[in-house]
Amino acid sequence: MATEIVMPQMGFDMKEGKVARWLKKEGDPVRKGEPIAEIETDKAVVEMEAFGAGVLRKVLVSEGRTVPVGEVIGFIGAPDEALPDTASAPAAPAQAPAAPAEAKEKATAPATAASAPATPAQAPAAPAEAKGKATAPAVAASAPAAPGREIVASPIARKLADEMSVELRQVTGTGPGGRITKEDVLAYVETRKSAPAPAPAAATAQPAAAPVGEQVIELSKMRLAIARRMAESKRTIPHFYVQVAIDMTEAMTLRKGLNEALGGGVKVSVNDMIVKAVAATLGKFPLFNASYVDDKVHVHPHINIGIAIALDQGLIAPGVLDTNHKSLVEIARASRDLAERARQGVLKAEEYTSTTFNVTNLGMYDVDNFTAIITPPQSAALSVGAVKSQPVVRDGQVVVREMMVVTLCIDHRVTDGAQGGLFLKELRAALENPVSLML
């Protein structure tokens, strides 16, 4: 019997989804678990996996169309088998249960979606990448991206999973109907314990048994997401770095004057000025506001600069949308608001999934300089160090100026050193003549 491909429920309150892209055409062979389509919700674009194996026999809903959750969007089956009447009523959408474990699972933005009704707790696959606009450490306190069908787990299994920080999506259920039982959760915890630990910083090879006093830290979901994204970024993006020291003396003076003039409410920070300068520079160097996808460079129409904010549980980089169209004061307001809401955990999904270029500033820690890792799918990023009084040579004289080192991290598939050099020249010019930031 042909397997129905059904618009999955990928969020607690998701009512409909758009078929953004079919990854297979009619007639293509499909393996079970293989991504067959990209589904766009208002939160993210998520890959949907095939639940059955066979051939994609029929596409009922074409790209760009939006249909309610539960509606049949296609069929997978044997090449010659009869298909059910395509006018059949849509399958009842699965309830996304308000199960305690689900509500507590603050899922990462890229979520796995099972395509057809089935016992959902199958062997875990790595979460599908959110294509297009998602950024890396994207965790929000708002509704988590639940999988396509509810996870069936017994109450005690949920309780245990919650207590032991186990993501039920990762656990294989062996109970009736694929239910995750207490045993399953405990078994998962066992295998998680025996998974090889990362090499300790002191390089002496340790024997298999953990030394006394060793502490094993369970990673939070946000940290896990960061770990995965950053490893993947370093693995796939050929990073190179270009660095320059910028004379921030004028900028610091301007900033002081600005904040006096603003008189209290909003304060413009050094980072706000850098963000403004970067936005303007990106306007002139669009390749740095792009993504490398499948041998093509996609230049983004909007400049949304992500500002990295440190949180207790990790790091998030929400974006100031259309940064190049905002004034310095508007950027200052926006960045303050983002930081506030990031700490409260109430960012909107689009704020962290649509950034095109990240700025990370470690100046507050007195760091001279550092090299960041590009957040996919971006192709460049800026690392900013502290503003420090330094002796420099001007017109043959040694003078003391407020110097700040920035490092531009670049995806070498998109552009090269010369362009990086030009970008930084432009950025430096903007910051060293800060009046230009007021335009």
Binding site: S154, P155, I156, A157, P176, R179, T181, K182
Partner: protein, 324 residues
């Protein structure tokens, strides 16, 4: 401490009550001359005389009605309904009078009556003589329902019933009469509304009562021997008042529960037990609370069919092992 049978435990409790209190007297079919259809009152007529050991006609409504009247008047009658099947003929007396007169009289009248009866099947007595109806009485406000599984509990619960101001349906089981068990020589009672863990375990909780507790205990032994599963058996002892505290505590430990009873599965009192347990221990359950109960059929006469209609050890073992 003595090892006596379930029958002797009950007989002895009746005997001591007749001796101690002149207000106690017995009424029932074949309890005098015949010595009781299950030999519980053997020798009583000779010892206590026909005023206190009264043979009654086959008229259950009259037996119970007379008992009610005597109890209302200040006596302490113990009436016998030969089997619980015959209680159907006395239902109005039991349900509408014995259970409710105290309430309906605004507390002015009490009916301290003990109705002893025998429940269950397994003797090839066929459909109308093999039913287990104690669950029905357990639903009725105003009644007590005792369901002892051991000689110790039988004597202890009967002593409590004989002192209770309400009407107690004291339910015995014919297949339990020969069961031997330890009973202390010194005075003791078993309170109503207190279940007991008859066997400790950590893997699954089995809740049962009356004869099924014994079947469950045997199943638990086999589960341990044959499958390495340690079952905790909770014996309810009284269905009304119902105590599920021990059962719930047990389920919180084992995360798995099976309720076993002899009566028909559909609407059996076990469903009440399941309902309360899942209400109280939902977050601790690894799966639904399961039931092992009598098949939904009139009790067959043919021996093999009858045996397959009544829960046995294999049924319990299967319910514990089966993924559910």
């Amino acid at each position: 401490m003595a090892i006596i049978t379930y029958r002797e435990a009950i007989s002895g409790a009746l005997h001591e009550a007749l001796q101690a209190d002149p207000k106690v007297f017995l009424m029932g079919e074949d309890i005098g001359d015949y010595g009781g259809s299950y030999a519980v009152t053997k020798g009583f007529l000779k010892e206590f005389g026909p005023e206190r050991i009264r043979d009654m006609p086959i008229a259950e409504s009259v037996i119970v009605g007379t008992g009610i009247g005597a109890a209302m008047a200040g006596m302490r009658p113990v009436v016998e309904l030969m089997t619980i099947n015959f209680s159907l003929l006395a239902l109005d007396q039991i349900v509408n009078i014995a259970a409710k007169i105290h309430y309906m009289s605004g507390g002015q009248i009490t009916v301290p009556l003990v109705i002893r009866t025998v429940s269950g099947g397994g003797n090839q007595l066929a459909a109308s003589h093999s039913q287990s109806l104690e669950g029905w009485f357990a639903s009725m406000p105003g009644l007590r329902v005792a369901v002892p599984a051991t000689p110790y509990d039988a004597r202890g619960l009967l002593r409590t019933a004989l002192k209770d101001k309400n009407t107690t349906i004291f339910v015995e089981h014919s297949l339990l009469y020969p069961l031997k068990g330890e009973v202390p020589d010194e005075w003791y009672t078993v309170p109503f509304g207190k279940a007991e863990v008859k066997r400790k375990g950590k893997d699954v909780t089995i809740v049962s009562y009356l004869r099924m507790t014994q079947v469950a205990l045997r199943a638990a032994e086999r589960l341990a021997q044959e499958h390495g599963i340690e079952a905790e058996v909770v014996d309810l002892r009284t269905l009304r008042p119902l105590d599920l505290e021990a059962a719930v505590e047990s389920v919180k430990k084992t995360n798995k529960c099976v309720v076993v009873e002899e009566t028909w599965r559909t609407g059996g009192f076990g469903a009440e037990v399941v309902g309360q347990i899942q209400e109280a221990a939902f977050d601790f359950l690894d799966g639904p609370v399961m039931r092992v109960a009598g098949k939904d059929v009139p009790m067959p006469y043919a021996r093999k069919l009858e045996q397959s209609a009544i829960p046995n050890e294999d049924d319990i073992i299967r319910a514990v092992m089966a993924p559910a």
